[in-house]
Symmetry: C2
Subunit: 496 residues, 2 copies
């Protein structure tokens, strides 16, 4: 038998199942009427179970074992075997009964989190989170690790990353960011955002989101833009990568940067070679790397001055009431910094502080040095130390994010890594394309996209994130480019 063919046939079956699941999930968040939910949940559950069973099938296991011994596989094929093999062992490591027990507890935990957040009462969620932490600890033991159980969880999102390395990255980042934030807000002159107060019709915002997505090179023949409550990008198939977005009538920037953020994710997905889908290599290099592509487009490009030079006329045409605003005024307004209790509303300067706080708490939860019951107090303390404010409620504090209720521990660092990768990649990008600012200022995004495709997108998941960042930038991941970017940009904007 041709082992490679058997292997790829299993992956192709998986690819079709995943495509159906992706569509069912996308639809659930975009078009599905509310009365369709009951069967939808069961349908996704059924197909997910089928896909899971396929991912741990003995047939696949035999293929992986045999293919891992071969040294004649091309780079992409070898990467496929590495990634699929890793997932196979991970999925195999958890006994089916334990996993089923977990999914039932998980769904109760999610519901309890929703109620607790609604009531702003952590006590309602506490026993469920205790269970989630307990399951996560068990999973970490089953997955295995070298130094810390947290590493076993991190591995799923950022292969090769460890909590020790994260600590080493976070330490200098925090030590320099926190005082900079204080200086900025105490000594600096904040941009004037009052001109953006008003009402901005959602139809106009949606049309603008479409315009900017087309402009940055998002291919609508291989995608779609739909409304949702919590924006996300979904890879439904090669040739079908959909962006969802949300618009606030009182804030014309929220939906715009949402579109740029999701657009960045979507460009990554659309730029991966079609042949990578059947190899299960279209998740990107890591969660952090995927986030870097969204952050780069949203922040390094969308929140830059040349972007607003280009975009001002388009923006003003959509909102004539803003026509007295210069490109510089818009650029400044788009870069207002504040101490917000809410992660998803955080600006570039404070965003990583929200992540550090979560990383600190979840590593300690996992090693048992803090207790779930004490989280609200610990959260508020850390918030004060990092961001410099105390949340006024559990809902605006420890209950704000859904992740932990799903048992997703080890996920949050991806957001921070995305910011750091983005700044480091952006530095190389600007060295490679000295004319980038002029290109962006005239709305020419093609050289940017070509560069990203050539250096990053086309490889999909072929390289480990640690390898890819060195290939792209010549250096290992470091917080330094991010800090330099932030200090330089915001010192100017705030007149320090």
């Amino acid at each position: 038998v041709d082992t490679w063919k058997v292997y790829v046939d299993v992956l192709k079956e998986l690819g079709k199942l995943n495509s159906a699941i992706a569509l069912l999930s996308w639809d659930e968040e975009t078009h599905m009427p509310k009365k369709g939910l009951t069967l939808r949940a069961e349908t996704i559950g059924k197909l997910s179970r089928t896909a899971f069973e396929l991912s741990i099938s003995d047939e696949l296991g035999r293929c992986i074992e045999e293919l891992e011994k071969r040294d004649d596989l091309s780079e992409d094929k070898a990467a496929s075997v590495r990634i699929v093999g890793k997932r196979y062992r991970r999925n195999k490591a958890v006994p089916p009964d334990l996993f089923e027990e977990f999914t039932i507890a998980q769904s109760k935990s999610q519901a309890a989190w929703g109620e607790a957040r609604e009531a702003s009462d952590f006590a309602l969620f506490c026993p469920h989170l205790e269970k989630m932490v307990d399951y996560t600890r068990q999973f970490a033991e089953l997955y295995g690790y070298q130094e810390s159980p947290y590493d076993a969880l991190l591995e799923r999102y950022e292969s090769g990353m460890t909590s020790a390395r994260l600590h080493a990255i976070i330490e200098p980042l925090r030590e320099r960011l926190v005082p900079f934030l204080d200086r900025l807000l105490i000594d600096g002159t904040p941009p004037d955002t009052s001109a953006l107060d008003g009402r901005f019709p959602v139809d106009a915002q949606r049309a603008l989101a479409r315009t900017i997505l087309e402009r940055i090179g998002y291919d609508f023949d291989a995608g779609a833009l739909d409304d949702t409550l919590h924006p996300f990008t979904s890879q439904i198939a090669p040739g079908d990568v959909r962006v969802t977005n949300r618009y606030l009538e009182t804030n014309p920037l929220s939906g715009l940067f949402g579109a740029l953020h999701e657009g960045g994710h979507a460009l990554y997905d659309q730029g991966m070679g079609d042949d990578l889908y059947d190899l299960q290599l279209t998740d990107g290099a890591s969660y952090g790397f995927h986030e870097s592509q969204s952050r780069l487009v949203e922040n390094q490009i969308g929140r830059s001055e040349p972007f607003w030079t280009f975009f001002r006329p388009v923006f003003i045409e959509a909102y004539p009431a803003l026509s007295n605003l210069s490109a510089e005024a818009l650029y400044r307004a788009a870069n207002h910094v504040s101490r917000s209790p809410i992660r998803v509303e955080a600006d570039e300067v404070t965003y990583n502080l929200h992540i550090m706080l979560r990383f600190e708490l979840e590593t300690k939860l996992l090693d048992g040095s803090i207790q779930v019951a004490n989280l609200p107090t610990l959260w508020n303390d850390a918030m004060d130390r990092y961001v410099g404010l105390t949340p006024t409620s559990d809902a605006a504090g420890v209950l704000q994010d859904v992740h932990w209720s799903h048992g997703l521990i080890g996920y949050f660092p991806s957001y921070m890594l995305g910011n750091l990768y983005a700044a480091q990649i952006s530095r190389t990008l600007r060295e490679d394309i000295p004319a980038l600012d002029e290109q962006i200022a005239r709305g020419d995004f093609a050289p940017l996209l070509d560069w990203l495709r050539d250096k990053i997108h086309r490889f999909g998941g072929i390289y480990e994130p640690g390898e890819l960042i060195v290939r792209v930038t010549g250096q290992e991941l470091s917080p330094e480019p991010f800090l330099a970017y932030i200090f330089d940009k915001y010192s100017k904007i705030y007149g320090l």
Copy 2:
């Protein structure tokens, strides 16, 4: 073992697979970007194959055999076993190799039809249609029948119907319709439709379609309205029945009646008991019965004078340029009769003639009394005899419909049966609710919907169509109520 439980568990699995397939298909016609097609076709193919295998599984077969022996099953359970058993035997009857051969030929046939229609050249399609007819003949033999092979095909769409009964219905229908059409168009005074010439923004048409769907009782919490090329209604789940529609900028009635037609289908689906889905009883009593619900809402209601009394102000508000038109003028314009070569553009008077022609040709194709190669000539001859005109091209003649290219023979009569059922049901409806016209005239559709739910919708597929029409109207299906309806209505409109 509890056979009933095993049986229902299989049906529940089928229900989930069918729900996923329905969503993938709906999305393909509404939101999917064109580059997503390749994997989509494979994904639908894979899930359809899984569902098909489940529908002929030995486990299901054993359950059916055992349950068919039981006489203690409730009415709905017994109906489920009858319908699922019938489908099981039908699907089992065709050897898998033959079926696979057919699906490959089918997909070539569809492509060839598209090209032939584009080029308006029947010769390009002829060899493929010959194959489709040949497969259909083989299937009919494998399914089995009493009198005519055509009956074996009809059974799938209209259980209990035979070609002999269809002939008996068609004969008097044609003999009275054809001369009536001549009288109408020669002696009558046609309604003036010139006021409807103009441009009607698609956005306004879409909003109007939404308004009228809400008004007739379509539940948007269990549905959605989306654009497509060829309107259809999709039952994605209990609680998720979606309408799709199309709008022509130059014709404000096309999209309106499209919405009412699909709305009629959707009300049927939304009105079936939720517990019927797991029993596979939510396809309705038959294709003809499903069509009766769309036709009743579209024609007996939407093309009635009281409807336009109610709807005129809404219509005029959307299209102020038409404000000089009275309700009566709109009613008359909505009921213009003409000799059109195209079935889907046909009015109430001529529609059934298009079906008779197809029935005559497809029964003769099947029994070998005519040859595929002669179809264009035979089509044009029959068109002249029935509708009184000769198509000017194959595209506007024998190539206009997609059905035969799929091997769908025996399907067309459902459209005619829908018209006849609708008229017969409508007669009883008006006897049961004498105030119906006044209710419609003030936009109160609730009594109508309550009646349809009580008499028809809630039963889903529990009754055979022949049984249901007697339960609802006290009589077997007859062309007489339809003829009386047409003669009365159009004699008045055309001043005969």
